[in-house]
Symmetry: C2
Subunit: 194 residues, 2 copies
DNA sequence: CGAAAATTTGACATGACTCAACTGGAGTGG
DNA sequence: CCACTCCAGTTGAGTCATGTCAAATTTTCG
């Protein structure tokens, strides 16, 4: 009954790199399936992130609390997105992040040790993740630029346009914490621009 | 008379990966040396970034202008740093960035086509750049987090501590545009916290 | 030395936050 | 299926952080 999730995952792999069935099966062996309830946490601060995590169903986010206990959402994802504290995963330093299911979710994860073995057994996987990390960098730089130079409301409009599928499924306070403003202020902006 | 710069560069390579002399020489063949006057531009908006660029001497930065012609500095670097619009280099889309010498500078650059050949001839170079891109990602995420959740003055203090060598050599308006505030406001903060 | 660039200063405007109160809807247990 | 609670979202008043603009001053470098 977990077939479908593995199916989604192998389709996702094959979208980026070419793999024969053997290789795909080898990858699937390395995958662990985790099911999460709404709001359940998969990673909490104080430990390194030891897995690469892929959302097969539902939605999840990566966020942290600053010294005033304000939430800041670094990443929001739905089906077919990867969600992780890459910083912690790559450096193996303790994470400051929470990874949390927004809706009920199914996550496929590959542990670091499995991944290292995979790099040897299926070298294309190394390419796959290099491409993923590059995209992550590109996306992060784009967001950095927007945060530095674009009005909040413009960013909000761009968000609901680009993440149309997501916006419906995510509470507004999470969107606010992703945009970098308080929920009150986002609410105020929406009214003002009606 | 360019020996010294190549020397600096090979030392830099050997700090991250192991290479025999042959391999190093092969890499050096792919390198082009560019000398820049103060404020001279090496990349301007509207063209893709076609080189990976290493600062052998002097200092440089990567910045862009927003729609109000405000400068935003994404990266500041001195000797032994890489400076580039990685976004454009990786996607080969037109860059929105300027790369500019702050002090008179010597840049070593490797073109994309040379780099691709290098990946084949000296596979360790692929690892080298993967590590560099990972570090770039990690640094960018750290900065993103700080921008979202830390006071400007705290960020300024952290900047002058971590970039002590740089801060002396870079005009304050560039530091301001790196921190994401106006020069006037940074000046005000410095006075206030005397 | 002199011109141009960078920095400082101050008055004023505005974007964004805080806090507290209120509203409405979703989930839960009896 | 109702009543209750709780959480998300909204509203408004007051405040603080940061921006704008223009002018005065200092520094830099050609």
């Amino acid at each position: 009954m977990n077939e479908q999730y593995l199916e989604i995952f192998s389709a996702h792999l094959r979208q980026t790199i070419q793999l024969d069935d053997n290789a795909v099966n080898r990858v699937l062996e390395a995958v662990e399936i985790v099911k999460l309830k709404r709001k359940e946490l998969l990673l909490t601060p104080g430990q390194p992130s030891k897995h690469m995590r892929f959302i097969a169903e539902g939605s999840a986010r990566c966020y942290y609390l600053d010294e005033n206990s304000q939430e800041h959402t670094l990443q929001i994802g739905i089906e077919n997105w990867w969600v992780n504290d890459l910083y912690s995963f790559l450096t193996q330093k303790d994470s400051q992040m929470y990874i949390q299911a927004i809706e009920p979710a199914v996550i496929l994860q590959i542990s670091q040790s499995n991944l290292e073995q995979l790099y040897i057994d299926v070298p294309e996987i190394s390419t796959f993740f290099r491409i993923k990390i590059q995209s992550a960098y590109v996306a992060l730089q784009e967001r950095m630029i927007e945060n530095l130079s674009t009005e909040v409301y413009t960013r909000y409009q761009k968000f609901i346009k680009e993440y149309r599928d997501i916006e419906q499924r995510v509470p507004q306070y999470i969107v606010a914490s992703y945009l970098g403003v308080t929920p009150e202020f986002l609410s105020y902006l929406k009214k003002k621009h009606l």
